[in-house]
Subunit: 216 residues, 2 copies
């Protein structure tokens, strides 16, 4: 990356489905619960691996543990053309052909963040945006265990693919909701819904847990 | 709804963007941070209201409060052709032209659930699936306050549009994560990522909050 400038959209054109490489638009004809024929429009990824068990992508909810610092999480901020904005997300990526979801999580985390992580749990398959698309994902909860001498703010080198420009930010877990709210107020910046919902769920239990009987 | 049968897909065909009513596929040409021209494929909704401030949809994170029962939330289960499965979601809907997001939340909640609700907070705008689509949403946190004689399991009549078949389930908040995990294990059933992430964030703070210093 030799120079840095604000990304700028130069054109937006309708894309014939036959020319699209990554996505497609489909019409589904179906018979509903009452026996009536209906149709539904859907956006789909063309890249789902046959070996994936029906999963397009994995996102890494991650915990950075350091012996003497508060537990933190690392977020990625990148320009996303579909929004013409910088998005704040957990690192994520598509699952490659022949690759397990856990392996994809470790690989993508290494590429985007630079650290080796350990998968501690894997969520069920979730529907990314079920009214509009067939895209699915799983969340891998991963941990990075740093040593006393590791500086969680001195991030290691990334292994990004050509065209990827990804900024990393390390946020203490206890401040996650507050930081996402601050990012949302910035110009040309938008938080991804999955990450925001996780943080909102944390904040909900933190603030309402006692009153609603949700504490551990 | 005179009879009930399993919905069945009869065909899936490529949909020319010119024939699509709800969605479209676009190619974005842009200049990246280094000055290099690039392209990105995006799925977009055609229905965003000019008056919406850039928001397609609203989802209703909801709390059902009853004087002598534990706080609960109501979920909707419906057949979603894009997944060919029943999805478990919070009630949600598109924002109409000229309608505020809060008004859309109250209207959609009334239509899908049948209860009047009060909006207690509104999230920032969030990107639904930012690598793939331009779709955006806000989460309205809403409350329904029932009286002592109201039975939260005796749900009122829905006002559904033609073709909508939506089952409602009331789940105690303290059991939300567990119930979603159970739904995920059912055949032909998938939980929406936003709802699952909120519940996972709740569960994370419940189980790890003390250890990680996240408690209120």
């Amino acid at each position: 990356m030799t120079k840095t400038q604000e990304p700028t959209i130069t054109s937006v054109t309708d894309l014939p489905t036959s020319d699209a490489k990554w996505l497609t638009l489909q019409q589904i004809a179906y018979v509903d619960q009452t026996g009536k024929p209906r149709t539904w429009e859907v956006a789909a990824r063309k890249t789902r691996a046959d070996s994936s068990g029906g999963v397009d992508a994995v996102a890494m909810g991650n915990i950075i543990l350091h012996p003497s610092r508060p537990p933190a999480t690392v977020l990625v901020i990148q320009y996303r053309p579909p929004l013409d904005a910088y998005t704040v997300e957990w690192p994520a990526g598509l699952v490659d052909e022949g690759e397990s979801v856990e392996k994809a999580a470790v690989r993508e985390f290494r590429e985007e963040i630079g650290w080796e992580c350990e998968v501690v749990s894997l969520s069920p398959v979730q529907a990314a945006d079920p009214g509009m698309s067939s895209a699915t994902m799983q969340m891998a909860m991963v941990e990075v265990r740093l040593g006393e001498r590791d500086d969680p703010l001195a991030l290691p080198e990334q292994r990004l693919e050509d065209g990827e420009h990804i900024q990393r930010v390390v946020v203490p877990l206890a401040e996650l909701y507050q930081k996402l709210s601050e990012y949302s107020a910035r110009e040309r910046t938008i938080v991804a819904a999955k990450l925001f919902h996780f943080a909102a769920g944390m904040e909900f239990t933190r603030t309402m847990g006692k009153q609603y009987g949700l504490s551990g």
